[in-house]
């Protein structure tokens, strides 16, 4: 019987956790060894089911993909200690080319709020360049409440991004990020495994603490200047900063301190001379907010 919970050291820093709150995804490139990628491809050729849960019982797959050390450190940072491991697995395998764009959607059974209780994780066992139809995502869209049924007429979206990546890449997403299958333009199989992890403990700031990270002056808005495509700004002005800050505070375990006083008060991005009005704490104690 393989373990159902996992514990390891958190590896993300404050800034990386905040970036995840803003973008709603994180790519970990080439973290699974080539040998494991090839074995996965071989088994996927023989078992082309959409839910090949037998993979979860294969020790080499469980140890190197499901419990991949790089992914575990990031997931531990976001879901806390003793997070729950996947109970199911899907392979979105495509073997035909397509001339029609995929349909944007959020996966079902979502819970729209600022709590990060679970993660939707993807794994590419093969090199997945643009022509092989990598999943397309809209960074920052996890805060947009919408129903899939109202999204199927959409095609081009400003700030959308292809998750092109080398073999062995794993990417973490917030479940309700907008995404779709890319158009496969070459005739070779594409495998994409998807599975979930869940939080089992209350959130707290127990990832890698950056002593220079300042809760008062952190850039909660994010945006293109960070180097990431970002569509969160497409909503109402400053909404993205509020949403990201609220999720970040929830992850720190101090959502009870989160407040929005309006106008140019914290966490609105603006140039300030002093501690921002409305900041839930003083500038001096900001770095220690709920540090454990």
């Amino acid at each position: 019987m393989l373990s159902s919970k996992h514990e390891c050291d958190a590896t993300l820093t404050d800034s990386q956790v905040l970036s995840f709150c803003q973008d709603g995804y994180m790519m970990l490139e080439s973290v699974v060894p080539d040998e494991i990628n090839q074995r996965t491809m071989d088994v996927a050729e023989e078992n082309a089911e959409i839910e090949p849960v037998e993979f979860l019982k294969l020790p080499w797959f469980f140890d190197n993909v499901i419990c991949n050390p790089a992914a575990m450190g990031a997931i531990r940072s976001l879901l806390g200690r003793e997070f729950h491991l996947p109970i199911q697995l899907t392979n979105h395998r495509i073997t035909n080319t397509s001339d029609i764009p995929g349909k944007w959607h959020v996966d079902g059974n979502y819970r729209f709020n600022h709590e990060l209780q679970y993660l939707q994780v993807f794994y590419y066992p093969q090199d997945t360049p643009p022509e092989l139809g990598p999943t397309e995502i809209v960074p920052g869209s996890h805060f947009w409440r919408n129903q899939t049924r109202a999204m199927w007429h959409l095609n081009h979206i400003l700030g959308a991004k292809k998750t092109s990546a080398p073999a062995g890449s794993i990417f973490l997403t917030i479940h309700h990020i907008w995404h779709r299958v890319g158009m496969v333009r070459v005739n070779r199989p594409r495998n994409l495994f998807k599975y979930f992890y869940w939080r089992t403990t209350p959130p707290q700031r127990d990832w890698v603490i950056d002593p220079d990270f300042d809760f008062a002056t952190a850039d909660y808005q994010g945006g293109a200047h960070t180097g990431n495509p970002f569509a969160g700004k497409n909503g109402e002005q400053f909404r993205a900063a509020r949403d990201a800050a609220e999720m970040f505070y929830w992850l720190c375990g101090c959502q009870d301190q989160f407040q929005v006083l309006g106008g140019c008060a914290w966490p609105t991005p603006t140039t300030r001379s002093y501690t921002p009005y409305g900041f839930p704490g003083s500038a001096t104690n900001a770095p220690e907010l709920r540090q454990n």
């Binding site: 947009w144 497409n234 109402e236």
Partner: protein, 133 residues
């Protein structure tokens, strides 16, 4: 055939009728000049999502439907296209640009749907435009 051309043809027929020279063949000739409802003429839909309710606001997204199908753009059909949607290759930057190019607005966004500012819904202000090709 334009409305003005049709009017001119009918005025000519009227003159011929008054002069007693109008023939069935001449009348059929005019009828044949009317636009035909040919099956190859199809409605095209341009569905755009704008950042605000103004016709000149930046677009956040677009789709083009031809013959009822969501038509991929050339960059999507390019096997090596990156298609990170940064709008630089989009056909129009605003709704006004599309109107200038001959598209006709058939649906204006319902702003009542955007009035709850505690949550962000959907992808902006959606216009539907059409043209026949």
């Amino acid at each position: 055939m334009t409305t003005q051309a049709i009017k001119q043809e009918l005025e000519n027929c009227l003159e011929q009728l008054e002069g007693g020279t109008l023939t069935p063949q001449r009348l059929q000739q005019v009828i044949d000049k009317f636009p035909k409802q040919t099956p190859d003429r199809k409605q095209e839909l341009l569905i755009v999502q704008a950042k605000g309710s103004s016709l000149t606001m930046e677009l956040l997204g677009y789709s083009i439907y031809r013959g009822g199908k969501n038509e991929p753009s050339p960059e999507q059909l390019n096997p090596h296209g990156q298609v990170t949607d940064n709008a630089s290759s989009w056909p129009y930057k605003t709704v006004a640009d599309a109107i200038e190019d001959g598209w006709r607005v058939i649906s204006f966004p319902n702003s009542a749907l955007m009035m709850d500012d505690t949550t962000t819904h959907g992808l902006g202000f959606e216009y539907i435009l059409e043209r026949w090709r």
